[in-house]
């Protein structure tokens, strides 16, 4: 019989673009697995449920997948939408590999069946603080968009930076979907920050970068992992030059991902987004775990996931006893000549 994997992601709403990327990439991985004969002799099929990054829709989407009897679930972009579903998947004992969402609250609410394939916020905060120190930034302005993901990251980073002896010049919040950041920019400038850390997504990040530079802000700009999108560089244009990004492992940075990148573009007619590589890996990971479990027994799959020692496009996936990544997969990159290049 076929093995059914559920994909849960925002296919509509503000973050539809990311969700579509996730679905595409997981499907690509599964297709490849199937082309090689599937797992344990069975083919894998997928079914997608749209959570629109909305808690309520996420719950119905989740129970739809559960009712359809999926063997495992992958996906999840917005922490706020993933949180209430943890209980559903947990009660049903379904293995769930979370691709994008990485709020630390997920760790607390996990019932043991969920795995975070993305590094959590505190890992990113650590990476960020290291980067600040290396560049000699002493006064940082942290800006988020008020949603679970970015405000969590902002808070963690601020705390980490303060305990590392840094100073937080300002902690600002903007509204998603708004275009004008000038008031916040003015405030940041007047507070004398020597760098700005933007923790939310690329749309706002690009606008903020542009407006900071336009207002003559000379300091450093550092972006959280939600900004890794080709759209960021397009929109920010020359203002984006020299900006740091704590990147999740994206196709552009990964030596082994060139094929994937090309194939993705060929299949879907668009560039692979930030989470495409990781989504692809998670697709592979779940197939790998089922293979190792040698059955579709969900307990066995969970055990197999716990014991993962997986190397994919994006790097190594090994879980801690809290089902989070052992090693952070964030890597600082810098925009040079309209491209992200690794920071030495």
């Amino acid at each position: 019989a076929d093995i059914k994997i559920g994909i849960v992601a925002p296919m509509t709403g503000q973050l539809a673009s990311e969700g579509q990327d996730m679905e595409n990439a997981v499907k690509m991985a599964i297709d490849a697995v199937n082309a090689k004969g599937g797992v344990n002799g069975d083919k894998i099929t997928t079914t997608t449920a749209d959570d629109a990054c909305d808690p309520q829709q996420a719950v119905t989407a989740g129970s739809k997948l559960v009712s359809e009897g999926v063997t495992a679930i992958v996906g999840g972009y917005c922490s706020g939408a993933v949180l209430p579903t943890l209980k559903i998947y947990g009660d049903a004992g379904i293995p769930f590999v979370i691709i994008g969402a990485n709020s630390t609250k997920l760790v607390a609410a996990n019932q043991g069946n969920a795995f975070l394939a993305n590094s959590t916020g505190d890992m990113q905060a650590t990476t960020a603080v290291e980067l600040f120190k290396k560049n000699g930034f002493k006064k940082i302005a942290v800006v988020d968009e008020g949603d679970a993901y970015s405000s969590d990251l902002a808070k963690l980073t601020a705390e980490a930076f303060k305990s590392a002896g840094g100073e937080i010049a300002a902690k600002e919040t903007t509204t998603a979907g708004e275009q004008d950041y000038s008031a916040v920019v003015t405030k940041i400038k007047s507070n004398g920050a020597d760098a700005v850390f933007w923790t939310a997504y690329h749309a706002g990040g690009a606008l903020l970068t542009k407006q900071l530079r336009q207002a003559g802000f000379q300091g450093g700009i550092v972006l959280g992992d939600g900004n890794n999108s080709p759209e960021y560089l397009e929109i920010a244009g020359s203002a984006g030059e020299g900006v740091y990004l704590l990147s999740p492992p994206t196709v552009d940075l990964l030596s082994g991902a060139a094929d994937f990148k090309a194939k993705y573009k060929e299949t879907y007619g668009r560039d692979a987004g930030a989470y495409a590589a990781l989504s692809h890996d998670v697709g592979d990971l779940i197939a790998d775990a089922i293979t190792r479990a040698k059955s579709v027994d969900q307990k066995a799959i969970i055990e197999a996931l716990k014991a993962s020692d997986f190397k994919g496009l994006a790097g190594e996936i090994k879980f801690t006893d809290k089902n989070t990544l052992q090693t952070s997969n964030f890597r600082p990159v810098i925009a040079k000549g309209g491209k992200w290049v690794a920071v030495e």
Partner: protein, 303 residues
């Protein structure tokens, strides 16, 4: 707050405010004439930006990415999206003319979702760059830098609004708009073609929103299918602050809202995450004391 900071926030507020005002104006006009909270207005703004971007990238081949390109985009988009507004009115709102007001409100919501859903389906939710080379040149007032683009932007929206005000208060058609808003039946008896007046109102309101969309797209440099949502809300708020239905009111309301937001971001003691609480809180308090907005007419019913 230092003086420079104050001036800078004032400038910031005025610029966002003039966008709000422009969009609020269309909102207010449509509301004025058919008492409809046109939820689709924000999406019309978004459509305007997209049409503008398409035109801009197209004409850019010949005229470059400078002012000329932006002006072309602006004019074409205003025309096209103005007509879109007329089409929406014709097919979504006109059949509802005698329906209860709330049903029309829901229809407007539906129209908004249709525009937004179409844009999502067509763009896949991507953000598009709207890259112009208008540059940052401008004048400096102590540490405050004001670009020529910003000046042109504010001037253009003020000019558009002044034109609109003159139209509504001076011309016969403007009076007809107000008459239609008060009593459609009686307006017919004056020889006013009500359908045409309403269509014209939608055309003008939508064209203004489209103009705002293109200007915002070019100024901020990005266009996105969701950009109209927040703007629609802001415009609605601005229109109400100013006194819904009033043209100069929409203008004042927009500017005031822009300023409230700018200063709300720099409140002492609390961070900018409280900005909207400050803005809406002020708005509510304001309405308690001035229940008809800044320039709205008091509607004491004669009994």
């Amino acid at each position: 707050m230092t003086l420079d900071l104050l001036i800078q926030q004032l400038v910031n507020g005025l610029i966002v405010g003039s966008f709000y005002a422009l969009i609020a104006l269309g909102y207010s006009m449509v509301f004025g004439v058919i008492k409809l909270l046109n939820f689709a207005h924000g999406d019309i703004y978004m459509n305007g930006a997209f049409v503008g971007l398409i035109v801009f990238s197209f004409v850019g081949i010949w005229v470059g990415n400078g002012w000329l390109g932006v002006v072309c985009a602006l004019l074409v988009s205003m025309l096209v999206v103005g007509l879109l507004g007329v089409v929406i009115e014709r097919f979504a709102y006109r059949p509802m003319r005698n329906a209860p007001r709330l049903s029309i409100l829901i229809t407007a919501l539906g129209a908004s979702m249709v525009l937004n859903g179409t844009a999502l389906a067509l763009t896949g939710g991507r953000h598009y760059a709207f890259n112009t080379d208008l540059g940052f040149a401008g004048v400096d007032i102590s540490t405050v830098h004001i670009t020529y683009t910003q000046m042109v932007l504010v001037a253009a929206s003020i000019a558009l609004m002044a034109g609109m005000q003159a139209f509504v208060s001076r011309t016969m058609y403007g009076k007809a708009m107000r008459a239609v808003s008060i009593d459609m039946g009686a307006s017919r008896l004056m020889g006013i073609d009500v359908d045409r007046v309403i269509a014209l109102t939608f055309f003008m309101g939508s064209a203004l929103a489209a103009g705002g969309g293109v200007m915002a797209g070019a100024y901020y440099g990005s266009v996105h299918f969701f950009m109209g949502f927040i703007m629609g809300l802001k415009a609605f708020t601005a229109a109400v602050i100013g006194g819904i239905g009033s043209v100069p009111g929409a203008m004042l309301g927009g500017l005031l809202l822009g300023l409230l937001e700018a200063f709300g971001s720099s409140l002492p003691f609390v961070g900018s995450e409280w900005r909207d609480v400050f803005v809406f809180g002020t708005l509510i308090l304001f309405l308690v004391f001035k229940p008809t907005g800044l320039l709205g007419r008091s509607v004491v019913e004669r009994v």
